[in-house]
Amino acid sequence: MIIDTENNVKAQNGLRTEHMVLNMGPQHPSTHGVLRLELELEGEIIKKVIPHIGYLHRCFEKHAEAMSYPQVVPYVDRMDYLAAMYNEFGYAVAVERLLGIQVPERVDYIRVIMGELQRIASHLVAIGTYGMDIGAFTPFLYCFRDREKILSLFEMTCGARLLYNYIWPGGLSHDIHPDFIRSTKEFVKYFRPNIKELNDLLTNNKIFIDRTANIGILPVETAINYGITGPNLRASGLKWDLRKDDTYSIYNKFDFDIPVGQGLQGTVGDCWDRYYIRVLEMEESLKIIEQAIDQIPEGDVTSAIPKRIKPPVGQIYSRVENPRGELGYFIMSNGSVNPFRVKARGPSFVHLGIMDELCKGHMVADIIAILGSIDIVLGEVDR
């Protein structure tokens, strides 16, 4: 057994008690990938959490420096592999801003639909695996059943189910399938009642509420200070969504709400709120898809793709609202065809940094609840 001598606690009668150091991961069923959490425990109470990351480090940033701008797209797919569409979306927006080009309207509409479908798919995984972390296995498969339908839509569009290489700087790799609009409408119609089913099965389950309400409370000031964004920040009660607050693409054309945490079952910013925000966001995404799918204009989706991307000297930080939060790309150009420096500021990487703050004083079982509720993807943490 590893004994941490620094943190030994002395008891009065000459006997010693020690905090137990437990390594959760890198191989563990619910660390959502290869994450290692070094836990310092007193019985089952957590004294300290030290996340160790980097087991999945694939040198994205180093690779990007050796690639031309379009060649980076498949690499960004592999960062947040549950929201690959959105990674591409963010990267394309960043490069377009650096180049100062406008994309045709049809491209924007298709991007938004893809992005929102991807958001639903990603939230379904988040919700499903969260249920599984808490011990309910069945909602997980229900969520995957519905995610499957979205993946089929993507497959219909670009042939790939997970890593798409579909959204390119300046446009799309190719147009949508003629059947896509009808299938998407069918999916929206099919999916809406399933959210209710999910609520019946998991959201309002007494045991689920007991496990998640008042656990891992994140006050809004702390959240901002730690750079928390996306659903996790909104669950803490701040109405902050880059789709509205720092708008990009054509999100300002659509009418949708930004759900914020209200502490319905406990305190604002607890695990249940972070979970429930995602359920509500799926519904908002459906709204956006419904509006966008009816308005797609005709046009060519590849016409604006530059033959050779060679941005002027300069740098840009461009951010989009990924399903997990603020996905920012810092791209520096020295005037050549290869980016000089690409830094991806992934939400998962940032969110994982708050584990220690959230977990202190909770029990071992709560770590799982908290880790699941902040919804990280290790591919993006390690890049």
Binding site: H28, A136, N205, R211, V364
Partner: protein
């Protein structure tokens, strides 16, 4: 009784007793475990919108046998830091604990492993052995997850024995016997003679007792779930937290022993619940054997009813497992000490007062 039959057949008490002892293992527990594992897969699959095993045999019914063959061939891994003797004894002890419980369970009027006068008491006592086995497994594995799982398990099983015993005491108080066979015999006739509907007595007391008997049944069923470590009380092996709890380090046949014990245990507690509250092996609607005058048909019918009742409760356990999330360890303890035990205690007093009437 089967014992007398074997005694006459072999003329030796020892041989008869051994056969009598092994009979439930080979005729009942092993086939049941094989069936239950398959059933669990199928039940979970159909609840989750999938098919479950479909390849091995008709609807995959041979899947468990294939799995057992696989487990038999597996390497038996013992890590160098394990406490070897304890590590090897633990799965045996767990299995013995749940197997021994079957000795006092009356499968039908013709077959009961050992017709003990202290039947229920024996079952409660001997399942206590399981705790020792689990603690040994957790400690001997020398793995922190196993240790945490074992500690949780010990705390949980010991706590939940109290409400179980309180409910059993309630029944014993009403019926005046600890012998499960006698208890089953008392509930003969039709389903309105079952303990859950106030027992075989007649009068106002019977109807007064019904709501409290139902409360008692719910309590004993919940605590039996906790005793066999099923969801929502499966925190000792909570896979998302403790990987696999106390059997993390086990592989091959030793792991299968834990698995077998778990399923045997599931049936054992269901059988006890059925015997206490649902008439044991008694038919709810009378016997076909009585109707057409074939006496030897009755024990077989009884075995059928007993298995059906047991299986029904096993099915409910599975149903719950694939529906509910898992409690946290402190909530689990709170549920036991703050709710179940006080309610069981008040229930005991009220039923006691009704019996006095």
């Amino acid at each position: 009784m089967t014992y007398d039959f074997f005694y006459k057949l072999f003329g030796s008490q020892v041989v008869a007793a051994i056969i009598q002892g092994l009979l439930p293992l080979f005729v009942f527990i092993l086939p049941f475990a094989v069936f239950a594992v398959w059933l669990e897969r199928k039940v979970s699959a159909h609840m989750q919108d999938r098919l479950g095993p479909m390849r091995v045999g008709w609807h995959g019914w041979l899947q468990t046998i294939a799995d057992i063959l696989k487990l038999l061939q597996k390497e038996d891994i013992i890590a160098s830091e394990n406490d070897k003797p304890l590590f090897n004894i633990a799965p045996l002890l767990v299995f013995i604990g749940s197997y021994a419980a079957f000795a006092a369970i009356p499968f039908s009027s013709a077959f009961i492993g050992s017709n003990l006068d202290l039947g229920v008491f024996f079952i409660v006592a001997v399942s206590g052995l399981v705790v020792a086995g689990i603690l040994m497994a957790g400690w001997a594995s020398n793995n922190k997850y196993s240790l945490l799982g074992a500690m949780r398990s010990a705390a949980q099983i010991i706590s939940y024995e109290i409400p179980t015993i309180l409910v059993i005491v309630t029944i014993v108080m009403v019926t005046g016997t600890l012998n499960l066979n006698t208890l089953s015999e008392m509930q003969t006739g039709h389903f309105w003679n079952w303990m859950i509907l106030g027992g075989p007595t007649l009068g106002v007391a019977k109807f007064l007792m019904i709501p409290f008997m139902i409360i008692g049944f719910v309590i004993i069923y919940i605590s039996s779930l906790a005793e066999v470590n099923r969801t929502p009380f499966d925190i000792p092996e909570a896979e998302s937290e403790l990987v696999s709890g106390y059997h993390t380090e086990y592989s091959g046949m030793k792991f299968a022993m834990f698995f077998l014990a778990e399923y045997a245990n599931m049936f054992a507690v269901s059988a006890v619940v059925a015997a206490l509250f649902f008439g044991g092996y008694q038919s709810p609607i009378g016997y076909l054997g009585n109707l057409i005058g074939i006496k030897w048909l009755i024990p077989i019918e009884q075995l059928f009813w007993f298995t059906a009742k047991g299986l029904f409760f096993v099915f409910v356990q599975m149903w719950l497992r694939w529906t509910l999330p898992r409690l946290r360890v402190d909530q689990l303890m709170a549920a036991c000490w703050k709710y179940l035990i006080p309610i069981a205690f008040v229930n005991l007093i009220i039923i006691g007062l009704i019996t006095l009437m």
